[in-house]
Symmetry: C2
Subunit: 246 residues, 2 copies
Amino acid sequence: MTDTPRESGYRPGYEVAAEQVLELIVRLGLRPGDRMPTENDLARELGTSRTVVREAVKILSALGRVRAQKGRGLYVADDEGMLGTGRRAAFFLPTDLDHVYMLFEFRRTQEMETSRLAARRATPAELRAIEEAAGMCRHGFETGREDLFNEGDDTFHTAIATASHNMFLQIAVREARRLQAQSSLIGLRGSVGGHAAKAVEEHDAISQAIRAGDPEAAAQAAATHIDNTLDDYRREIQQRLFSSDR
Amino acid sequence: MTDTPRESGYRPGYEVAAEQVLELIVRLGLRPGDRMPTENDLARELGTSRTVVREAVKILSALGRVRAQKGRGLYVADDEGMLGTGRRAAFFLPTDLDHVYMLFEFRRTQEMETSRLAARRATPAELRAIEEAAGMCRHGFETGREDLFNEGDDTFHTAIATASHNMFLQIAVREARRLQAQSSLIGLRGSVGGHAAKAVEEHDAISQAIRAGDPEAAAQAAATHIDNTLDDYRREIQQRLFSSDR
DNA sequence: CGTTCAGATGTGTCGTACTGATCGGACGTA
DNA sequence: TACGTCCGATCAGTACGACACATCTGAACG
């Protein structure tokens, strides 16, 4: 996936299990502080051994998502844990709509700034990468290939972040996109329909501003892009509220 | 009341082992990308079982400090790993001057935005917390108590982040400050001297703009504050270059 | 009514056995 | 000599079983 280009397609089971445990937490509707299934239950549920489950849990606890207490059980980390106290880093699964809106607000900030800086600092090669990604995205849209569209979109924003020449902003953009992708898993999902046509145009506007070396225009174009994307999510959610049972 | 789960002084072995492995990496002088001892060696070295070592390694890999490859061995994470690819969180030690500048640029972005949002969203209680923190900072400066000054400074920026009502920005601000504190450890250090007087004034300017509910003024005041702080770091570094060896 | 104690539950630790990915060296062939 | 193949060693990944130790529950007991 978006992970480091692993030499082979191999992926350790504990890593898969860690993700599955997260999904399970969401599916069971567990809230921070709630008690989780026992390690044995998880092993049975995921069809693997307790060994693997334990290693998965260690990962999740290092990421501050799960807390293990000897003699008691496993617990979904509370907010303080999720935000990453102490040496732990912050990580977090958007579970309700407010989180998604916050996440958009966060992305807006980061992407405005990376676009602004990219307009000042992008090298010719980086500029080319940005425009190529925009092209891939457009091509994916025109041919209706959703995978191409999404890959192009991701590459586009990543390329801009790279061109900002600020590794911390790169991290922020990457994490924001990752979190947003996770939230897709729990109910929201981007599609080639609807906003895709607009998105393609907006990508062009951004890359043109970057090529022109106009920081403020680039930032504004990025802001518009995020705002429109958010509008689309809003619309999609509205639809769900009308058509869904749950 | 809430019977606290009474976490007696107990600490799981895998947690201790994780720290010991980190210490071992330092003691062996291993650099990012270097190969580490095997799991069996580590178990023997730490006087524990391979199980415990494996769980410790999972924690360290989740934190992005260690990378495990099936059939090959364990490796100290390289830069890419440290930056937190994929699910990992950002975990990174600024080692050279460029990183410090980038970090300031990053902080500038985040603190401008939190200040902007705080001006729109701060509740009366949050506003009071901000002003109290600014007061503590000023008091620390006037009485020459560096610890109070630093604590007030930290509380001030954290309070603004809280008042932004965006948890992701809060995380970003916190991580940025944490990283900056770490970089202090390796050579740079804030002090009550020099910029402190200016900092106190700038804090007031920020909190006044927030109280006035003027987002752009708040953002500008925050930007000025960060810029001046950066200037001071620059000056301090200059001094070091003249007086130091290496 | 409070205290104690025994069992049940669940995480922590250990040992062992095996699988599968990777690497390097031996061997054979051109 | 150069190159490909094969084999064995190495080492992380997975599984299972057993027990230690912390914690909770409830029943027996004073």
